[in-house]
Amino acid sequence: MSTALSVVVDATLITLILALAAFGLAIIYGLVGVINMGHGAMLTLGAYLTWAATTAGLPFVISIFLAAAGVAVIGLLLEHIVIRSFYDRPFDTLLLTWGFFLVSTEVIKIVFGTDLRNVANPVPGAFDLGGIQIPAYRTMIAGCSLLLIAGSALVFFYTALGIKIRALIQNREMASLLGLDVSRMYKLVFVTGSFMAGLAGALISPMLSVDPYIGNIFLVRSFFVVIIGGIGHLLGGTLIGSFLIGGSETLFALFSGQVFAQTAVFAVAIVVLRFRPHGVLRSG
């Protein structure tokens, strides 16, 4: 019995952490249509900036927000210098953001070196739930993930800004005729997505080894989360996508090796993509 319970707990934690990692990507992809191949580098940057800030003696909570803000600034620069003239060419933005990934990974190596770093776990320990131990920090991140997504839902559905953004996705020309500053909205979305990526990297940093490749672990998984969840289904889609990717990996791993589980999840994701190119939430 406790096995079943612990599988549920594991799957929930994995789903929420994956959703957190993928959320910045979902925002940028879903709202402005840019496949941000630099997403992994943004996660990595968030983790390194957190490491730098905590090493400088700042409290963890302040560090993660500084890190996220730092990544947002870099996202702003990227958008302003490169991306903004390419919004109508998704293919070029894909390659350009990949270029951003290549460059920023090298800059990270030069600036921070390649030694293994770690960020001290701010909430050590675990608590007991019906006989199974649940790591406190992971639970906290899962909570943060839910809060962020729920908070974004509030902004998206209940504020003037959210209405503008939704108008923008639905019809760009119409939005601009209505007097919305489209390019500013795009910039805002891109920066928000970068901020979320940086925040995710910062929050994940105490769980993983901080190295120049930390973000890559989540890159392809995050893409499948977004694609399977469905573009534009920012909130439900991200959660469902995360559940299908992360949860099914947990299930596969129950019956097979971990390597096979990862391969199988990718295969399943490709098949889903084939039959539901617009995500599982939308038919056809």
Partner: protein
Amino acid sequence: MKKNNSGKIIQITRRSALKGMATTAGVAAVSLAAPGIIRRASAADPIKVGVISPLTGAWTVYGKAHSAGFELAVDEINAAGGVLGRKFEIILGDSKTEPRIVVEQANRLIRQERVDFLAGTFSSAERNAAGPVVTSANKILLYPTFYEGQEKEYYPGVCNKNMFMFGPEPTQQVWPHLEYMMNKFGKKFFMIGSDYAWPRVTNQVTKRRLLELGGEVVGEVYIPFNTPQYESVLRDIRASGANIIFHTLTGSDTVNFRLQYTAAGMKKDFVLWTVDDEEVVTSGLGPDVSAGDYVSFDYFMSIENPNNTAFLKRFRAKFGKDALMNTVGVAMYNAAHMAAMAIEKTGEVSTDALREGLKDIEFENGPQGKVRMRGLDHQMVLPSYLMRVRKGWTGVNDMFEEIQSFPSVEPLDARCQLPL
């Protein structure tokens, strides 16, 4: 002091690399000037050693100690006047942690730089990639890393008469300490490792002795590289009722697993024994995560003997007081000195002479104590230390406390056509 020394080596590399660039330019049919390639070696010419280290890529963390060990030894050899009146010259190749690049670099060093022998490569895959190259070019490779031991089926990556193994294998690194660990903590082992040959073979060899001693393996999992989540593995470990977690994860996965293992509050319920985490990785783990874990190797920076004290003094003078050394760097150090002794002994710089010279050679000044290269299977006879990571350690000097040690452990004979 530090600058001058390392500057010299970089300069050498730069010059040879520039020569290489000129050759590339030939590809573009611009021009080519590669003088001095067909020059007869004279007594004053240096003995050239090609060193292949992971300077960039995923295992850069290990690369520094790896090349530093060899550089330090070469400085010492040259300061003492070289060998047969000739100095050693290092030509460095970056493996980028990629077997594909090892093939390129090994060929470059042998064919273009005309090195007399090779040292280095880091992982088993890198060594295997170099295997066919050193076999066909008939050059010696001195391999420094702790590894899975030699099995015939992996020839020419092992069981190769042109390769000499300076690092420990499982019968030296694990077997000597099994009895102690089982008596102290229990007979049930849970094995977790990265999914490749070193962890798999190490576990297989460990299991053999474990079963002889009446132990039991209650779980065995292999994790793909770059796995971020360990929930299900941690659950399996908890459910298995294991006494000891036998740990052969490598690289960043070591850190990922241990952070999450610690966060799950499992440290108090299990004993963890790792055969991968030397000074560099343990530094990366930090004191909270690593405290109380057991580690076994042939060398630790904190072992106390006059050789090591003197060695670390020279090492820190050259590379700075915070530089990290480890088993692999020390193996590279021993490899350089023992090659120099072998050349001195035979009076000749050639592959055959070096091979004969290295057989059964003893090195008194190894940082881990006296060491010997077996002629039979080219495997080093080394000490073996079992250490526990100290609670609240602050640096490499107080990182490990010695539990038990054996000054000289003979490995099991290599599973090859012997003698090599």
